[in-house]
Amino acid sequence: MEGSLILTIGFILGTTLMYATPLIYTALGGVISENAGVVNIGLEGMMTIGAFTGAAVGYFTGNPWLAFIAAGLAGGFLALFHAIASVSFAADQVVSGIAINFLGPGLALFLSRIFFEGATMTKSISLNDKIPRPFNGIFPQNSILDLIFNQYATVYLAFFLVFIVWYSLYKTKFGLRLRAVGEHPKAADTLGVNVYKIRYWAVILSGVFAGFGGAAMSIAVVSNFRPTLISGQGFIALAAVIFGKWKPQGAMLAALLFGGAQGLTVYLGGTGIQVSSQILAMLPYVITLIVLIGFVGKAVSPAANGVAYEKGER
């Protein structure tokens, strides 16, 4: 009995890691963009194009890492348009993000139909061509360590990137500039920081990360792309950014919480315990709302987040 409890916990933790991973990548993207002062509600669209590109490149080349990188590039390419609109043309960033959320899924499904004989679902990549699992076979099968740590490499890479993003944001010159641009672009400009250039890079990087997040879903968690694969995860990642107070480590914890809710849903779905999976699925959003209310009076968002910067504006 005790043994099975431990295994249950192991299963839930493992599932949590699996489902949190796509959210961690995408939320990191949001953290980068919003710290530079550009709101990115287009994460959903960027994640979707990444998920498709990963699945398609993975299917045709059989190389999961090439697929992963291609997914990042696809997300970054879509983000470029968000950057052009919101940085160069001082567009309303939410409206531009909404356009991205039409374009991303639209392009993904369009291309899927072109490359996969009219189907909106890509063909599955073979198990051998998915992202590898570095600890596969090291622990005894179905032991607790196996259940927790026998994850796809993308899971470990996500946590490594959390550290990299944290380090870059808070310990490097680039990070300092990026945050300066998000807090007080005019001051940063006065000191010779190129606000436009930094914001461009931040937005493009956010797309790259969202693309990674999509691929972490389509070539690791599952093995193909389909229209409902991402449905809403970009928005959950956005919630994780805010929940995590715009910090990489905070966003990671929030993503883990959301992944945990998903893990619990999956576990309970398999047991027949009378807790509605619908109510559980609702929880992350309810918690986020409650946390948002708790933020009252605390200025946590980067000061210039969502405000376009126009040189010479007084």
Partner: protein, 379 residues
């Protein structure tokens, strides 16, 4: 993401008819280029879409039926916009309205016309309260409505799935609820047109007979009526004046004695009620039930695009909604006709919204042109 944005949103949408038309043309142009690159003839594709919408009375009716809920969710988004609020929550408010309409349409036993009115009242109230949550959170706690409504959308989706799955409401062996009672139906002569007398009468009028093959209902009339009401509230009442004043400059409005917090809540309640009515119209007129949702259906998100293209005016919304209805109904026909991906429609819509977001780009194009002209004239 608050102060500067709201004022910019407003300036962006005043007097932008020209920009909107140019954006629509660019959208269709990009769609054509994408089709061309993919190896399809864009003229043929657009031709199929056009004839797929206009060549038969039935098709036109369908396009209008597709447009109806989008016009209303567009009105919801536009209404909030005018108060300086971004209602991304129309999607969730639509879901709540549709759900309550299906519940009251199935469980209430009322005489024909009254039943419809009661269903609309309940749906509008429930969705109004749902939208009001976001307004309240903004007014009381300063939670940005974009974030809270995104959360509320997903809560609404799972709430819908929870309720649809309840015993007594879920139709066995299906993933949907029971159908609403006939007394709540707003279809136009739906039984008569299938009866012998109806068929015989219609056979004398081929145009009407074809038109009636679509699930024609009173929804479009309701949408037009709502557009009129929104226009009236915004432009002809004290309430509308106050709401718009808050949208223009909430500090000035407050100084002038307008309750900004109350206005924010009122605006979101009305916006929510509108989106809820869109859901109710769809349930009473077309679907007659609600289903378990695997993903967002997009009525609210499309409504945002409709509102942006309609420049946030009541009647702009009607036209933008009809454009959307035509694109959404005609678009899939290139799938069967040409084997061309119908998702080109999403690319066209995304492009239109993208260019509407950057009027500066079109202005730049126009000034470049006039500059060139100026240069040549100068020489």
């Amino acid at each position: 993401m608050d102060k500067a944005k709201n004022s910019k949103l407003l300036s962006m949408f005043s007097g932008t008819f020209g920009f909107t038309i140019i954006s629509i043309l660019i959208g269709l142009g990009i769609g054509a280029i994408v089709l061309l690159i993919a190896g399809f003839n864009p003229i043929e594709a657009y031709g199929i879409m056009l004839s797929g919408v206009f060549s038969k009375p039935k098709y036109i009716a369908y396009a209008i039926i597709y447009a109806t809920p989008l016009i209303i969710t567009g009105l919801s988004v536009a209404f909030a916009f005018r108060t300086g609020l971004f209602n991304i929550g129309a999607e969730g408010q639509y879901i709540v309205g549709a759900l309550v309409a299906a519940l009251t349409g199935y469980f209430f036993n009322l005489p024909p016309f009254i039943h419809v009115i009661v269903v609309f009242l309940f749906a509008a109230t429930a969705a109004g309260l749902w939208g009001g949550i976001a307004g309240f959170l903004k007014a009381r706690f300063g939670v940005h409505e974009v974030i809270s409504t995104i959360m509320l959308n997903w809560i609404a989706l799972y709430l819908n799935n929870y309720v649809v799955n309840l015993n007594g409401f879920k139709k066995p062996q299906s993933e949907a609820s029971y159908e609403i009672l006939n007394t709540a139906n707003i279809s136009l002569l739906s039984e008569w047109k299938l009866s012998d007398a109806g068929r015989e009468w219609l056979s004398n009028f081929p145009f009407l007979a074809d038109l009636m093959r679509a699930p024609v209902n009173f929804g479009f009339m309701i949408a037009l009526l709502l557009a009129l009401i929104v226009w009236f509230i915004l432009n002809k009442t004290t309430l509308g004046y106050e709401l718009r004043a808050v949208g223009f400059n909430k500090y000035a409005a407050e100084y002038g004695g307008i309750g900004v917090k109350k206005s924010i809540i009122t605006s979101m309640v009305i916006a929510g009620a509108l989106a809820g009515l869109a859901g109710a119209v769809q349930v009473l007129g077309v679907t007659n039930k609600v289903a378990v949702l695997a993903a967002m259906e997009g009525y609210g998100f499309n409504g945002i695009a409709v509102s942006l293209i309609g420049a946030n005016t009541a009647f702009g919304n009607v036209f933008a909604g009809l454009l959307f209805g035509a694109l959404n109904y005609g678009g899939p026909k290139i799938q069967s006709g040409l084997q061309a991906p119908s998702e080109v429609v999403d690319i066209v819509i995304g492009t239109i919204v993208f260019f509407i977001a950057i009027p500066g780009f079109i202005k730049m194009l126009l000034t470049l042109r006039s500059k060139k002209r100026g240069d040549t004239n100068g020489r």
